[in-house]
């Protein structure tokens, strides 16, 4: 018997139609993850004042012949939104300067404070400025961070102001940018991959635990076995459906994340293998749980035991790194952990070396679970 795409699609059609008619499934599959993004995003979009804190090190410690000659201090004051003459520039000034002692190693300080933005004013800044010599201000930033653009824009604005004031627009203060290695991201940036993982887990898992145990109990499988539909075609149609659902859910969540919270996520083809393998992995796992258990009640309990810890500990709602070490170790045995880590690596950190490792782990687990599910799952009993 050759597998038939026509039969698979026919089953896909009937199943997806049933799914769409079932408000419950639709809610949990598509609406619920979006609600979670809205809720968690709103709760944790913490700095509601809107000001970005920027660590600034002023290495220009003088000496100054008069306070007026301390141009560096005026520069810092302006960076903070107040002109040298004491007038406020704007109430919505985007950054707040947090001065760092001039003796510390600035890059190390930034990394220790998980900061993605920093400004370094070099020694001799005031003297060079007064003498009309080129002086360079370094802006530290992380290309993946949404704040970096705002900070560097603000600094060059202030630098332009100083250039204009003194030398009629000739460039004395130049800006160079440096990349910080620390990855400070907004909570919502991280929340999106986490909740995409959540939806990749929850829909196929719960649904297949339920379907495979219910169909066994009500003998729907037996009935289907009396048609030319094969169990692999049936399984393929379910996997296809949940890949499709995850893709829709993914687009919804990314759209909400970007439009509601200005999330910074990268969309690349790298996401595709995760969005394909993830639903396949959990559809297989759900199938396995539903098949090996005796009845739908037991299946439900086992399904929850497997699913719930993963739902919270695999990096869905908060980063693994804030958990105690023993919980982190537990997270490492959860398949979802690797999916979410991989999604983060691709969408937030652009760390493709990490993504490849995660993808390999996910692919291996998926293959094992799929083969096991296909083997254990029987159309008919002997």
């Amino acid at each position: 018997m050759m597998p038939s795409a026509k039969r698979t699609l026919s089953d896909f059609r009937v199943f997806s139609r049933g799914y769409l008619r079932n408000k419950f499934g639709l809610f949990f599959g598509l609406i619920f993850p979006v609600i979670l993004i809205l809720i968690f995003g709103a709760i944790f979009s913490g700095n509601s004042s809107g000001k970005i804190t920027v660590y600034t090190q002023n290495q220009d410690t003088g000496p100054f012949s008069s306070p007026q000659m301390n141009i560096a201090a005026q520069f810092v004051q302006t960076l903070n939104g107040t002109l040298p003459d004491g007038t406020r520039i704007s109430d919505t000034w985007p950054i707040r300067v947090e001065l760092v002692d001039s003796s510390v190693n600035f890059t190390k300080y930034l990394s220790d404070h998980s900061a993605s933005d920093g400004i370094l004013i070099p020694a001799g800044f005031s003297a060079d400025y007064a003498a009309g010599q080129m002086v360079n201000v370094t802006v530290y930033g992380n290309p993946t961070s949404s704040t970096s653009g705002i900070v560097s824009g603000t600094v060059s604005g202030v630098a332009n102001l100083f250039n204009l004031q003194r030398f009629g627009g000739s460039t004395v203060i130049s800006i160079s940018s440096a990349t910080v290695n620390t990855e400070q991201t907004q909570y919502v940036d991280f929340l999106i991959p986490g909740l995409i993982g959540f939806s990749i887990l929850v829909s196929p898992m719960f649904s297949l635990v339920n379907i495979s145990s219910e169909y066994k109990k009500t003998k729907l499988f037996k009935q289907l076995s009396l048609t030319p539909l094969t169990k692999m075609e049936w399984l393929a149609s379910k996997v296809l459906f949940y890949i499709f659902l995850s893709a829709v859910s993914f687009l919804l969540m990314v759209a909400v994340g970007i439009f509601a919270f200005g999330a910074h996520v990268t969309l690349t083809v790298w996401l595709i293998p995760f969005l394909v393998l993830g639903p396949m992995l959990f559809a297989s796992l759900g199938m396995l749980v539903g098949t090996v258990t005796k009845n739908p009640e037991t299946a439900g309990v086992i399904g929850n035991i497997v699913t719930f810890p993963m739902m919270f500990l695999a990096g869905t709602f908060f980063p693994i790194s804030i958990m105690p070490q023993y919980l982190q170790s537990i997270a490492h045995i959860m398949p979802l952990y690797y999916i979410i880590e991989g999604l983060n690596a691709v969408m937030v950190y652009a760390n493709y070396a990490q993504a490849v490792i995660d993808l390999a782990v996910v692919a291996a687990i998926t293959a094992i679970l799929f083969v096991a599910a296909a083997k254990v799952f029987k159309w008919r009993e002997s």
């Binding site: 026509k6 009937v14 049933g18 037996k222 009396l226 030319p228 008919r380």
Partner: protein
Amino acid sequence: MNPVEISSVKKYYGDIKAVDGVSFTVNKGEVFGLLGPNGAGKTTTIEIMEGLRKRDEGTVRVLGLDPWGNGYELHKKIGVIPQEFTFFEKASPREAVKYYADLFGVSVDPVEILKEVLLDDSANVLFENLSGGQKQKMGLALSLVNSPELLFLDEPTTGLDPNARRVIWEVIRGLQSKGKTIILTTHYLDEAQQLSDRVAIMDHGQIVAIGTSDEIIAEHGSGERLEIRGSKKLANYIKANTELKVDFEGKDLICIKLDQKIDALAALAAAEQSGLNWGEIQTRRDSLDDVFIKLVSGSMDEHGEIKAERSNSKSPNTGGKR
């Protein structure tokens, strides 16, 4: 070649002999009823024929195929309603028929098939909203999608109200008149009698009687008898004054076995002679019910459903739900 030929089929579940040496043949175009109490082995037998279950011993040929080994081929040629038929909750009969047609790779008019099972008026109602009878009709519709010559109906009316049952019967008679061969299991005596050309009575995994109703009654029944409403005293009087075999069955019912018709005259003469009161008289033969109860060591409840009364608690009395 007959559509179904099975011989010495056995299926054991541990110590339980679900099917214990069953043999029969089903002829083309007939409705064959497998009748028996819950747990008699009907469903196991029918599932072995459908290729849903593997037999332990014996030979089974269905449309010339071995159902277990060639199930995939066989299923394209037969129609089945499993016991307690169920379907996707959110699909309508029309969609279900279309789905089956796609799976079987045939093109059918869903409305035409639904008309055949008297369900065209609910073609677009979701399965979860159909009544019990309508659900069974949808099952019948699905079993017809691949235009099978041979149909297996496993307890098609169990759990339905009397009206719904009659409608299903009507549908089954319609299929019969189109020349389809139908194998039907039931634990309703009237259903077996109403629908079947031949009946096999199963009990404890074995066939205890097989044939047309008349053949079974002739073989296993006790022959004609005269029943007279009267007292025990009257019974004793008749017994004393004739050569007849007289039984007083309580509740004023006297039973007299008639070896020949003329015996009735002797009995009535004796009754009249006694000077005692006697009421209604009738002659009776064993019905299939009587024979059934005799054979199956069970009884019927008020719905005509057979209740097995078994002291043997090991019996596989699980309602055929295996």
